[in-house]
């Protein structure tokens, strides 16, 4: 099966060739057929090609490789390989609880109507800071807002292992408080070891999965 990217590149390549043809032979537009060709080549195809390209770039912006391509994110990428299941991102990444090629985005997008858009806008801000601003040290990087349980519950809600876990089900109204984000999954001394990049010097790393 032909990869979608190959089809996109082929489509854009054809658009380039046709635009080049019109550029080299503009006199073709003197006749009706040439006018139609010019309209298709200089309006319809570029719009479609740019839309395809934009869509492809948007999809790539969700990939782990994209997120970790900035040097400051290296330690966060390494934290996915920590050989300790108490590190939440490492446990999820190593056990395929999140897709490995979209590991960052899966947890760090908002599962709301405009969540993906907000995530992209935050990404643009990160790119701006990376190239034009003052890049903080990895250990100083914090979330803009506390991690919302909604992002965890997008997958965990309804899971047997989540609902039958005594610490979730025994305390009265705990499930309700978790589901309404009154008690944070991460800030309640339960799942509070996350990336913790400042501790990476003292841990061992999983060698698999590369």
């Amino acid at each position: 099966m032909i990869a979608p990217t190959v089809l996109e590149v082929s489509f854009i390549g054809i658009a380039v060739v046709l635009a080049g043809l019109i550029g080299a032979r503009a006199e073709l537009t003197r006749v009706r057929g040439g006018k139609i060709l010019a309209f298709a080549t200089l309006f319809v195809l570029p719009v479609l090609a740019t839309t395809l390209g934009f869509s492809e770039h948007m999809q790539r912006a969700e990939s782990t490789k994209f997120c970790l391509s900035c040097h400051v994110m290296n330690d966060f990428g390494r934290s996915l390989y920590v050989d300790d299941p108490s590190y939440i991102p490492a446990k999820h990444f190593q056990n395929n609880l999140v897709p490995r090629d979209h590991a960052c985005y899966t947890c760090h997008t908002d599962y709301t109507m405009f969540g993906p858009l907000h995530a992209k806008l935050r990404g643009l801000r990160h790119i701006y800071v990376q190239y034009f601003g003052k890049t903080p040290a990895p250990a100083e990087i914090k979330l803009y807002t506390p991690f919302h349980n909604r992002e965890c519950l997008h997958c965990h809600a309804g899971m047997r292992v989540y609902e039958e876990e005594p610490r979730h089900s025994k305390p009265p109204d705990m499930m309700g408080r978790l589901n309404s984000n009154q008690v944070s999954c991460m800030a309640s001394k339960c799942h509070d070891t996350v990336h913790d990049v400042s501790t990476l010097g003292n841990v061992t790393f999983w060698k698999g999965g590369r």
Partner: protein, 76 residues
């Protein structure tokens, strides 16, 4: 006669320029698809898209501003 030829030549010049801009923009788009990197995305947004957009707008302008073709002028 030379005056009558001007609109057609002008339209073709604009179409040629539009085609070149679109070509360049799409080539930039193709090049940015080679690597998965934020700079590729930024290059696409800041260079590729404006080139294509400028080309499309110039082409549309050439359509609406174009004078009669040689065929139309020859018609009674």
């Amino acid at each position: 006669m030379a005056h009558a030829e001007t609109p057609v030549g002008s339209v073709e010049r604009r179409v040629r320029l539009a085609a070149i801009l679109i070509c360049l923009g799409l080539v930039v788009l193709l090049l940015t698809l080679i690597r998965v990197h934020p700079l590729a995305f930024i290059t696409f947004i800041l260079i590729g898209c404006p080139l294509v957009l400028a080309g499309i707008l110039l082409f549309l302008y050439s359509i609406v501003s174009g004078g009669p073709t040689a065929e139309q002028r020859a018609a009674p």
